[in-house]
């Protein structure tokens, strides 16, 4: 019983991380129909920014997280202006090629700057250690992850569903041409959402060092998980990716805990089956 709860807890924390890292991708795919395989590179950038700030300049963890968010967001906007925007009308194949190219370059640069080893991260003492609650050991850092994820998911939902900007985003996802005709500046909406999406990926990358590790192959290793979240969760909403990410997190942790000899096999099988059964995602938009 205790182990079951522990697995559930770890899985949810892991799922929250996946949600933060992939929510941007789901918007990119939903809004601009743009296949961005380089999304993981922004998460990796956030991770390295966090590590460098903390180790070389002694920035406190929370400050480093914030800066990781902004660094990835800025990098996202710069790349969007320089490269991505030329490819919105191009074929999916072109988009795949461009972003795979970016992934290779990002991996090479990260290896050149930091070497291929895992980056260590020293958590502040408040966030390390265990709490024991009704016989279940709760890792403090994973509680922190769950809290951050929940707060951000809530904030994103409020922005998307209660603000004028959120309405513009939803309108653009539904039908970019009609939204444009109604006077919404779709390209500006997209730039902002893209920046926030990349920023969140960076934040996720920084938060995830403790759980997922950080090395130059990060963008390739986790791109499948991001695509999985988007594929299963559907594009353009928040509920879908959140549900999918939590499900995925729990399934992955449970699979590794209870059936280590099968490993990732179950996960990929579930993905293929789900895609066959529901090509539009778990929570399809009406």
């Amino acid at each position: 019983m205790a182990s079951l709860l522990g697995v559930l807890f770890d899985g949810l924390a892991y799922g929250m991380l996946l949600f933060l890292m992939s929510v941007g991708l789901s918007v990119t795919l939903g809004l601009m129909n743009f296949v961005n395989l380089a999304h993981g590179a922004f998460a990796m950038l956030g991770g390295y920014v966090c590590v460098v700030l903390m180790q070389r300049w002694g920035v406190p963890f929370l400050g480093a997280l914030l800066l990781a968010f902004f660094a990835s967001a800025v990098a996202g906007v710069v790349l969007e202006r320089l490269l991505y925007r030329h490819f919105y009308r191009r074929s999916h194949l072109d988009q795949v090629l461009l972003t795979i190219g970016l992934v290779f370059v990002a991996i090479a640069i990260a290896t050149w700057l930091f070497g291929s080893q895992q980056q260590p991260l020293r958590l502040p003492p408040i966030l390390s250690g265990q709490w024991t609650l009704v016989g279940v050991d709760l890792n403090v850092y994973r509680c922190f992850l769950l809290a951050v994820g929940a707060v951000l998911a809530f904030a994103l939902t409020v922005v998307l569903e209660r603000t004028r900007f959120g309405a513009a985003v939803r309108a653009s996802v539904d039908d970019a041409r009609v939204a444009e005709a109604l006077g919404i500046r779709v390209s500006l909406v997209f730039q902002l959402t893209f920046a926030v999406g990349c920023g969140l990926a960076g934040l996720g990358g920084a938060l995830g060092i403790e759980v997922l590790g950080l090395d130059p192959t990060f963008p390739l290793k986790y791109i499948v998980y991001f695509l999985l979240v988007v594929a299963v969760g559907g594009t353009g909403s928040l509920k879908g990716p959140l549900l999918a990410a939590l499900l995925l997190g729990v399934a992955d942790v449970a699979g590794k805990y209870y059936l280590p000899q099968v490993g990732a096999f179950i996960l990929y099988a579930i993905m293929v089956l789900l895609l066959i059964a529901r090509p539009q995602g778990l929570v399809a938009r009406a």
Binding site: L29, V35, L83, H86, F87, R90, S91, H92, L93, D94, V96, L97, L98, I100, G101, L102, V103, F104, V105, A106, I107, A108, I109, T111, W112, L220, V224, L227, L228, A231, Q261, V262, G263, A264, F265, Y268, A269, M271, V272, L275, I276, P279
Partner: protein, 321 residues
Amino acid sequence: MRSTFRWLEVAFWLVLVAGYVLWPGKLPLASQVLIAGLFALSYDLVLGYAGILSLGHAAYFGVGAYTAGLLAAHGWGEPISGLMVAGLVAALVGFVTSPLVVRGTDLTRLMITTGLGLLLFELANRLGTITGGVDGLQGVEMQPLLGALRFDIYGRTAYGYVLVVVFVLFLAARRLVRSPYGLSLRGIRANPGRMRAIGCRVDLHLAAIYTFAAAYAGVAGALLTQTTQFVGLDVLSFGRSAELLVMLIVGGAGLLYGGFIGAAVFMIAHHVLSSLDPVYWQFWLGVCLIAIVLVGRDGILGAGRRLLTLRRRRPVTVTAS
């Protein structure tokens, strides 16, 4: 124009035959390039002609490689029949998976093929008792080709064997894409809706070419196994599928020869650059990809074709879109 290309084609294969004299010390590398070229040809049929975006084509390459490897490791070391069995098994896997791949949009296809590729990789990884897992499949021993020609250490037999197999399969593919069926595939790539409207059974045609291409990929994988007498887990890796895409795009998709040119450029560049520094190689690979999509995607062959056209100032129907 047409006759120029015909002469170029003849010259292309003659140069490969002359490889025995031209690069006698590099025959093993040349065999690898030819095998990669055959694999890229198979991918060209799927992507360049039928327009199916896949990132899991290594699945069929790996199935072929493991089939040939397992046969040889369990005593069936006769190469040609092993090659055929490997091709058939890969075709069977391709046929079974084709309904999943054919339906859906680019994005679903991309994810399903990626998922299938990862699935097979994990399967081979987990079935370590059969496949050897991460250590690779040991004990692959080939019998002499046609009962007479031994696979020698300089790769002379292997190169000839690979060259003949690749040439025969190439002729078949060339015939195929120039047939009415090949034209219908191009029609589907250009506009599936309209093809359906004029009575073409789109899904069936796509499934057929996917199965056919899977067989080619399987043969390519089997050739790699038979000439290196080893199967590593990397035959199924995602990296192999991604590199395949790069090779085809560098060479030029939808032109049959693009895969061979791309494979040669890619593998020689890899050979040279990664001996300097592996990081260096990856960086330039990425930069090249970005440059290719920015400049125009028809690759080296496409660029060569444009040059020829410019010089002659004659309109040519360019098949790659």
